[in-house]
């Protein structure tokens, strides 16, 4: 299973790189296509706190990550 996922990922990566010359990236450069920020939900993980671990620069009080 993991091997298949790896091959599919590599295939997609190569396909993306190979088609760069002809790609018009106007859509993917729109603000709504930004992937480096979390999405608007930032859904909580209230039982484990695993998703809420503090990262500096988040602009929020850290007390949420101790619970």
């Amino acid at each position: 299973m993991a091997k298949h996922v790896l091959w599919i990922g590599l295939g997609l990566l190569l396909a993306g790189c190979a088609s760069l010359e002809s790609v018009d990236r106007s859509y993917v450069n729109q603000p709504a296509m930004e992937l480096r920020d979390g999405n608007i939900l930032g859904a909580p993980s209230p039982a484990s706190g695993l998703r809420n671990m503090k990262k500096a620069g988040g602009g929020e009080s850290c007390s949420v990550c101790a619970k």
């Binding site: 993306g16 909580p44 039982a47 695993l50 671990m53 990262k55 620069g57 929020e60 009080s61 850290c62």
Partner: protein, 341 residues
């Protein structure tokens, strides 16, 4: 002639210079219930408020460097946070602290060609806070093929103190003190790839640990964004984090596995007015080795956001609600204004 060329270069660089920015964000969150599966009692609703003022410098040294600072003041209601003494008696943390907490963060971001590096530091300024912390994070990414492929890493460290409290260890029924300080570390490695003119994908590997009380956790996240039309785009995030089973447990909880899926759609109603709707589920599965119990907590979250960009400003308003299969419920609203100077 040389002076004219230099002057035009300066003018053109100032015309292209990244502007300074001031941002204000206000949020309110209301939470009730508990995430524990065996939670029997009723938990009152508590409301927390926070406001953040942040500033970003204009681009310095040919726009290669940006400095930023932010100040957050939070008013948290700790009436449902219990502290347990050695005799097993619980008292709410709000009996000891019910003031506001202010924290500050400073950041630097440097860009040179295809390379971007960032460093930020944050700490609690309120000395009486029950949860004083210090946190550092560093990031680096490099782009290839005109940034169609970007490889990046984020590293973060935090140390947070917490009030003295005790818990009963279910393995030997002895009362033990919880650690007075928690250190957390997290490392992320990600690859972002433009696949077609409409499709962008990011794959991320995550490793982290809260050293004093939890095992190492490993996992990853896959994010996909697809432009359905020139006005409508969708994004799907899926991820998984799993605590390593080989490590000894140090607190009253078992081993957790968390996985999630979140879908959001953004529609550009008119030029520069974006509306986003989002829905997601987080499932947390806890395996308790000493009792053989398997507890599962699922939390559904729904959100809406509107954002409008004016000539030199942006305003946004968002809200979200969460509910789980336990008594946990949460509602939050956030508004912000960004002004480019």
């Amino acid at each position: 002639m040389r002076q004219i060329a230099l002057a035009s270069l300066l003018l053109s660089s100032s015309a292209w210079a990244l502007p300074a920015q001031v941002e204000s964000q206000i949020s309110a969150t209301s939470t009730s219930g508990a995430a524990a599966v065996d939670f029997r009692g009723t938990s009152p609703q508590v409301s927390n408020y926070s406001s953040t003022i942040s500033g970003r410098s204009p681009g310095l040294w040919n726009d290669s460097l940006i400095a930023s600072v932010s100040l957050t003041t939070a008013k948290n209601d700790y009436s449902t946070t219990s502290l347990t003494n050695e005799e097993g008696q619980s008292t709410p943390l709000s009996d000891r602290f019910h003031g506001a907490e202010t924290s500050a963060e400073f950041g630097l971001e440097w860009k040179g060609g295809a390379h971007t590096a960032s460093l930020s530091y944050g700490q609690m300024l309120t000395q009486a806070s029950p949860y004083p912390y210090r946190a550092v994070s560093a990031g680096y990414n490099v782009g290839f093929f005109s940034n169609a492929t970007v490889l990046g890493t984020n590293l973060s460290w935090a140390r947070q103190e917490q009030p003295l409290s005790f818990h009963t260890d279910a393995r030997d029924l002895r009362i033990r003190a919880k650690p007075l300080a928690l250190r957390s570390e997290r490392a992320e490695l990600w690859l972002e790839q433009v696949l077609t003119e409409r499709w962008k994908m990011q794959v991320k590997g995550i490793a982290g640990q809260r050293i004093e009380d939890r095992p190492l956790h490993l996992g990853g996240e896959l994010r996909n964004a697809y432009a359905l039309t020139d006005r409508l785009s969708a994004r799907l995030d899926t991820g998984l984090l799993r605590e390593r089973r080989g490590e000894a447990l140090k607190d009253e909880k078992g081993y957790f596995t968390t996985y999630w899926g979140e879908l959001q759609a953004t529609y550009e109603v008119i030029y520069d007015l974006l509306l986003t709707a989002s829905a997601g589920t987080t499932v947390e599965r806890e395996e308790v080795p000493w009792s053989g119990a398997q507890n599962q907590v699922g939390t559904d979250t729904y959100g809406l956001k509107a954002s409008y960009r004016g000539r030199s400003w942006t305003v946004n308003l968002s809200g979200k609600i969460s509910r789980s299969n336990t008594s946990y419920r949460s509602r939050g609203i956030q508004g912000g204004f960004v002004w480019e100077i």
